[in-house]
Amino acid sequence: MSGNRCAVIGVGQTEYRTKRRDVSIAGLVREAAARALADAELTWRDIDAVVLGKAPDLFEGVMMPEAYLADALGAAGKPIMRVHTAGSVGGSTALVGASLVQGGVHDRVLVVAFEKQSESNATWALSTHPPFNASLVVGAGGYFAPHIREYMRRSGAPGHIGTLVAVKDRRNALKNPYAHLKIPGIDRAMVESTPMLWEPIRYLETCPSSDGACALVLASEKAVTGTPAWVQGTAMRSEPIFRAGRDTVDPRAGRDCAADVYRQAGVTDPRREIDVAEVYVPFSWYEPMWLENLGFAAEGEGWKLTESGATALDGDIPWNPSGGVLSSNPIGASGLIRFAEAALQVRGMAGEHQVDGARRALGHAYGGGAQFFAMWMVGTDRP
């Protein structure tokens, strides 16, 4: 990997909830940031720069929230910048923060991302129906359902695979004190009894709407305090949504992004060499789809890995032990939570959902029409 070494030395999360009526947006991000600082045993004074990630401004209607939140994040007299790459923004935010350390610009960077969905109007903001549209835009579920259907046709996956992921991730969430959806006793029958929203996506195969924030403290090698998770590889990729021949089931940008991260981290067989992955799965079927896109399974074989239980917490390649996006979804923060959970795993600090002996973990986020990707590999070993 190019650049100076960079490590995650602090992780802070708020509890993810339907409504956080007790705090302002500033209070919410501060809660996560203060916890990350406490984890790193640092204070606001020790931070050189702040990077803030946030989904579209129109969600909460707070325009340029980075300006409003600069004081709340202790950025007075320091650089602060904003990142926005649709749903992948949380991941991109961590990568921008890491690049400031890798580039030798700063020694300690605070990375924060958030969403207050209870006061956000995401569905409205994503479908404002301006005039002159040539294509029908039907919101996230309506957009992704056809790609899931196409995956099912191509792979021949049986129809229940999505419900397996919906159950597995929610069972994992029961072990995560920060997770939003806690459904004790969830099983396939319960998932299958919920209505189809955007067939083939059922209600319990989608992510919730959450309030929450997540924060990381990133440090250069000489500024490391506490237990580091070393950044072993980082990459972002994007692709145009209306390119002819674009494969919406297995996007090339995702494949290229993973290949770049694996090359930097020296990984040639992700299934064997990665111990745990936190992957952006907002609809249950995206687990088998991304298992293939990220090279954990051959094309058309991802669903077999899911079905075999390999991605469960006690499987050989656990995916989303935290419960994933299916259990907590403060949109702007959802990608950063994947990156943060990957770091917690290799620091051995994931608590009840810890994967024993995890030495290398993948964090993944995607956004837009599956066209923006951000990934990192973190591990116990200094790169």
């Binding site: 002159f132 835009v137 067939e199």
Partner: protein, 331 residues
Amino acid sequence: MPSEAPPETPPEAPSEVTAPPGDPAAEHVPGHVADHAVDHVLEFPGGYTRTTGPVIGRFLTELRDARIVGVRTADGRVLVPPLEYDPATGEDVTGEFAEVGPAGTVQSWAWVGDPRPEHPLDRPFAWALVRLDGADTALVHAVDAGDARAMRPGLRVRPRWRAERTGHITDIESFVPEVTRITSPVRTEYRLRPGRALTRFLEGVARGVLLGCRCDSCGKVYVPYRLSCPECGVAITEERELPDTGTVTTFAINNLPDPRAPQVPFVSAYILLDGADVPLIALVGDVPAHEVRQGMRVRAVWAPRQEWAPAPLSMSNITWFAPTGEPDAEL
């Protein structure tokens, strides 16, 4: 989840016991006698006077100055409203007064949906037990919460004082919830133009034609018509008219209503027009949702010509795509 009504709360208005006018049953009740009722008022002119005594007097004097005080008991509790004795022990209270509030916490309440003339507010409100900050007992007063759903145990409230105060409990007009949320309107006005490429395409739709284009460099055919190739990044110059027939490559059955769809469920589909290399997303109709298939052949259903709107440019001339009945295409 309203809690039990506080004991000081006046009972809800008793339901009228007289029968509705014209109820024939009422006319024939045995023993029914003619009604000779008249109104009578009993009121001492000017009202009775009451000497407050030093404790209540201090409380009312402070109220007139927009302050709320309680009195301390021998064992250190603060009674609000104050009393001259400790109701728990019967002992005298101390001479020590303590300012409390003005904010407090709702302990329980009864909602008054239909206020009577003598009530402190002319709109629905709650009679509530409010424990003011620093007090050990609760005060009964009205809470102007707007809606019963705004009431909950633990709700923080503050007094709304009358401008003209006389030294009476009604110097506090009512309590009102603390401010926890504001509304922040967001509105921006735009003037939109469709741009050259989309104008060209939508003008085509306006006369019943689907216009695409072909990239010279990669040979891919795009629809809607556009001016550059997203793959090659080069300008596109070759315009190409496309047929209004195509193949459903994949689709969603949407079970949530949408203003642009005629019913629920509705099918939104990726439709690859014949000769095109990128799909359009459009509605599929004239077929039950669960009979739509990947590979199904479809044709645009154009609205009747007399309904075609000249402006603004839009896709509305195409109602949806409907099956042609041809055999399914290979995907």
